[in-house]
């Protein structure tokens, strides 16, 4: 048996799955001040009278990190940057406590200016004085050579052993210094509170005598053992939309191209599944005001939901962006799209006579019948969603390309399916699909698709390997590890073999070794370094991943 629980913005959903079938579901309103209780009460609901030894897996997806950051409840972190030559570091917006240290590493990982240790010591003393317990140290190109970051950490620890220091190269290995700095900062700012939360979950689970492993869902649709997730809890941000997309993957036929439409109260989340693979944001998620390196599905949030206020404007209507409460037909104060759909008998919730009252009132303002105005509301909602979906595909087509083949191969893709999930106004989905000339799908259990997605998601993992044979070193970006390369003539095949070995080790370390076999090479490239007219070495880049996917235990739905 599999258990999935998704703590969403409005509701918390739980499912119990047995042999590929959803056998129980539960739904409670989310109480943001008591997330643990929210998780536990639907869990208790679905495991009642279930033989606990039959539970194989529990997967959680929570808004904890999102809330901590949105509410400013993260721990204070000081940022120490070694930017070297380039942009004026004052032009980065990375918070209030930012210190700049002299020293520099270049793009090949060579030291071009020694670290100013004296300056570092002074800054460390100042920060200790100011009471900082957490410091993030980040060098430009620190992922190509971490020596300065290690040294900075040692100096700070020397000044005050109590201070926790997080190094940029261990938070992210990708190019983009300001994003790496923000990611490092958020990583260390959320660790403590998350650790406490995770401990409470562990306690609650063991009190219930559940022996199954507990996983947490990440923003890239992958699961990670709860214990391992404490390293970098910030990766669990935005797991809700990821859960919905994974749910759609689980509930629709494999290898298709679908738009996931998750209509909530005030917003609709749109995500894309291209040929069966969820589309990942190419640069990283935006968290609050920070651009980061956190891998996340490419999700577009549209300010339109079932509870959006409908207003008369000219001879038409406008929807949203705000919400005044529930729909009029559910006792709310203002007319909403939900009322329009109820009135047109597209959905079956709320009080029909209240819905009629809402539409008649609106119709009076526009000098037309209740039916006409209800159709107008639905039309505007459908048009808005169709336009936003089109723009998402367009944006995907317009992603930059750096190689000839990439420019030549990018074809125009349009969706086969529009899939509606979530609790909201699913009645819109078939209309959106019709307008786009595609198939509209509202899967069975669509309202708990997110919890299903969590329950059946498998682990994901990435590995970014780079070897510089002239310098005789290799680095693994995600771990911040490096090693020696002796063979100057290392070729791409050897590099890929090495990367494959390293991702297996990495998977073992993170407790997801059983999925290491699913790892694929997503990009591999070699550059000859020519100086004068002869080759002095090679740069070999290999990227691997275990992509988002479904566990083999899941046999229901499409696969």
């Amino acid at each position: 048996m599999l258990i999935g629980i998704d703590v969403g913005g409005t509701t918390t959903d739980a499912v119990l799955i047995e042999e590929g079938k959803v056998i129980r579901t539960a739904k409670v309103p989310t109480d943001h001040d008591n997330l643990l209780e929210c998780l536990i009460s639907p869990l208790d609901d679905i495991i009642r009278d279930v033989p606990l030894e039959k539970i194989e897996r529990v997967v959680l997806s929570t808004t904890l990190i999102t809330n901590l950051i949105a509410e400013g409840k993260t721990d204070p972190v000081a940022l120490v940057l070694e930017p070297g030559p380039g942009m004026n570091p004052d032009d980065y917006t990375l918070g209030d406590e930012v210190h700049i240290i002299r020293g520099a590493i270049d793009f090949r990982g060579r030291e071009i200016q020694p670290l100013d240790e004296k300056q570092m010591k002074n800054v460390a003393a100042t920060l200790a004085d100011r009471g900082y317990e957490k410091i993030a140290v980040v060098s430009k190109f620190g992922q190509r050579n971490s020596a300065h970051e290690e040294r900075m950490k040692a100096i700070i620890t020397g000044v005050s052993p109590k201070i926790q220091v997080e190094m940029g190269h261990q938070a992210s290995g990708w190019l983009n210094f300001p994003r790496r700095a923000a990611t490092t900062m958020l990583k260390v700012a959320t660790q403590d509170r998350y650790r406490k939360f995770a401990a409470e979950i562990n306690k609650a689970i063991s009190q219930r005598k559940i022996k199954a492993p507990v996983y947490i869902l990440k923003a890239d649709g992958g699961t990670l053992p709860l214990d391992k997730s404490m390293e970098s809890p910030v990766e669990t941000i935005f797991s809700g939309p990821a859960a919905s997309s994974m749910g759609v993957m689980a509930l629709t036929p494999p290898d298709q191209t679908s738009v996931v439409v998750d209509i909530g109260g005030t917003t609709t989340d749109l995500a894309l599944i291209l040929d069966g693979k969820p589309l990942i944001s190419s640069t990283g998620a935006k968290v609050d005001s920070f651009l980061t390196h956190i891998r996340a599905f490419s999700v577009k949030s549209v300010a339109l939901g079932g509870d959006s206020i409908v207003r008369a404007a000219g001879d038409g209507v406008t929807l949203g962006p705000e919400r005044a409460g529930p729909a009029f037909c559910l006792g709310g104060p203002e007319p909403t799209p939900t009322d329009a759909m109820k009135f047109l008998e597209m959905i079956d919730i709320g009080d029909g006579s209240l819905a009629e009252e809402a539409m008649v009132g609106l119709g009076r303002e526009l000098d037309c019948s209740a039916e006409d105005v209800a159709r107008k509301v639905v039309d505007v909602a459908v048009e808005t969603l169709v336009r936003e979906i089109d723009q998402m595909f367009l944006a995907w087509e317009q992603e930059p390309a750096y190689r000839v083949w990439e420019v030549l191969q990018k074809e125009k893709i349009r969706p086969q399916n529009v899939v509606g999930v979530g609790g909201g106004s699913l009645g819109l989905v078939p209309l959106v699909a019709e307008r786009m000339n595609t198939t509209g799908i509202i899967p069975e259990n669509a309202t708990v698709a997110n919890a299903i997605g969590a329950a059946v998601a498998r682990p994901t993992l990435t590995l970014t390997f780079r070897a510089d044979t002239e310098r005789g070193v290799y680095t693994v970006a995600e771990d911040g590890t490096s090693g020696e390369v002796r063979d100057r003539k290392m070729d791409l095949e050897q590099a890929e073999d090495m990367a494959r070995k390293l991702i297996v080790e990495r998977a073992e370390r993170l407790g997801v070794g059983e999925y290491a076999g699913e790892a694929v090479v997503t990009h591999s490239e070699v550059f000859n370094m020519v100086r004068g007219w002869s080759t002095v070495g090679r740069l070999l880049d290999v990227e691997m991943e275990i992509p988002a996917g479904l566990i083999s235990e899941w046999t229901g739905g499409g696969r």
């Binding site: 942009m87 520099a104 793009f107 190109f141 651009l291 000839v404 420019v407």
Partner: protein, 450 residues
């Protein structure tokens, strides 16, 4: 926010090279990629990254007479580099961006009107293709192209040599000391476009100070007077003090400041082969300067401010060059009148052109009608020897964008009548007024229309 919104296409063509160890190889913009991505420049609100596209064959034919046809002279990489400039041109003309930088390869400024092969790493001329696309599509007329590459932009010069509406200014290391061995002060343009070509051959080892003197005293004042509707920077980076192919002493700071002062509407990358020691820093500097951001922290690891000083002699030499070209510019109308009256009804000249990369020797005979109403239609007969005794003989007829009726008619007659001339293998018509480009095979007796 600086109020700037700069369009950027970064197309390093990581899968394209002339040959594995050639300076124009896959690795060329690799470290530039590392630096500008690590800086996070693509995330800045002042920078909008665009995706490249392929140029149409017609966009190439609008500028070049490709022998035997466009397809034979371009690879997909060339079409993408040229197409990238067109994407940015559209965004700029539609006012979606305030300025633009096409950080693309392969380069193009050594490609001339007639293209038999690769010259100086170039097959087709990206700037010229972009300028003619913009003039055709958006109806603007006056354009200035400033070539800041260390090599003379001989291809661009030749393409616009007779066009009084295109001001071409190139500063470069003196042609007596560097490829392509041209770009002297007496190359001032065709008779009807005198001093619309301004060459500034600089002594080897000229530092930032020298180039900024030229910029302040000559280039900027001329630009102001010419008052173009579009300013293009043909932005080579091989004036850098570490460039392996040239001997100048320009720095990343110097380049950034140049772009700040010149404030080009669109910059297009040309040469620059110090791929580790210069390009990452120079490109970061240019992007920051064009985005209106502070570039003062951009510095090469080994650069010491003030390390390159100008000698007295060098200073005097540069001042004399500036004075000489200032005079030429001031006397442009008089020079034009004299040259036109000396030429008679048709201006004729002979040229020989060498294609270093492909080892082709071309000899050309050019003739331009000295029309009182327009810049005049032109013909070129060209013969290219490719070794082993093989050669291509072609004849081209060119109608400029703002040609008068009579020039158009005469040009078309000339094209028709040449179709039976067995002295040539191919006959071409490039009619920019009608946006009509044709190629006729004398042997196969068929016509290709772009």
């Amino acid at each position: 926010m600086t109020g700037k919104r700069m369009g950027l296409i970064f197309f390093p063509a990581f899968d394209w090279s002339i040959s594995p160890t050639h300076p124009e190889r896959e690795e060329r913009l690799l470290y530039t990629r590392d630096q500008i991505f690590e800086e996070g420049l693509m995330d800045l609100p002042e920078v909008e990254e665009y995706k490249p596209r392929l140029a149409e064959l017609k966009d190439i034919a609008r500028v070049h007479l490709c022998v035997p046809n466009v397809e034979a002279q371009v690879t997909d990489a060339h079409l993408i580099a040229a197409g990238s400039t067109l994407v940015l041109a559209d965004a700029y003309m539609d006012k979606k961006i305030t300025n633009a930088f096409a950080l693309v390869r392969p380069p193009g400024h050594h490609s001339m009107r007639v293209a038999h092969g690769n010259r100086g790493f170039c097959n087709v001329n990206n700037e010229a293709i972009m300028v003619e696309y913009i003039r055709r599509k958006y109806g603007i007329r006056k354009v200035a192209i400033v070539d800041t590459d260390v090599h003379h932009g001989d291809g661009t010069q030749e393409i616009f040599y007779h066009d009084p509406d295109v001001l071409f200014i190139s500063f470069h290391q003196d042609g007596r000391t560097l490829y392509p061995g041209s770009g002297f002060m007496d190359e001032l343009g065709g008779p009807k476009a005198m001093a619309r070509t301004i060459n500034i051959p600089l002594p080897p080892e000229t530092p930032d100070e020298g180039i900024h003197y030229v910029l302040d005293e000559l280039v900027l004042p001329i630009l102001k007077e010419f008052d173009p509707q579009l300013v293009v920077n043909s932005a080579g980076q091989d004036n850098h003090y570490t460039d392996p192919l040239a001997n100048m002493r320009f720095s990343a700071q110097g380049y950034a400041r140049l772009n700040e002062k010149l404030s080009p509407d669109i910059a297009v990358l040309e040469g620059g082969y110090a791929i580790e020691t210069a390009l990452p820093y120079v490109n970061t500097g240019i992007i920051l300067a064009m985005a209106g951001l502070d570039y003062s922290h951009v510095r090469e690891p080994d650069f010491v401010p003030g390390q390159f000083q100008m000698s007295r002699t060098m200073k005097a030499t540069i001042e004399a060059i500036v004075q000489h070209q200032k005079d030429a510019w001031d006397r442009r109308d008089e020079l034009t009148d004299t040259a036109v009256s000396r030429a008679g009804p048709f201006y004729r000249r002979k040229k020989s052109i060498f294609y270093d990369t492909d080892m082709i020797s071309e000899s050309q005979e050019e003739s331009v009608r000295m029309c009182p109403h327009c810049s005049g239609y032109m013909t070129i007969s060209s013969r290219a020897s490719k070794g082993y005794g093989t050669s291509d003989r072609v004849f081209g007829v060119f109608v400029p964008l703002f040609a008068c009726h009579r020039c158009r008619e005469e040009a078309k007659e000339e094209y028709e009548s040449r179709k039976t001339d067995s002295a040539f293998d191919y006959i071409y018509l490039q009619d920019k007024t009608a946006d009509d480009y044709r190629c006729y095979s004398v042997h196969e007796k068929n016509e290709r229309v772009y």
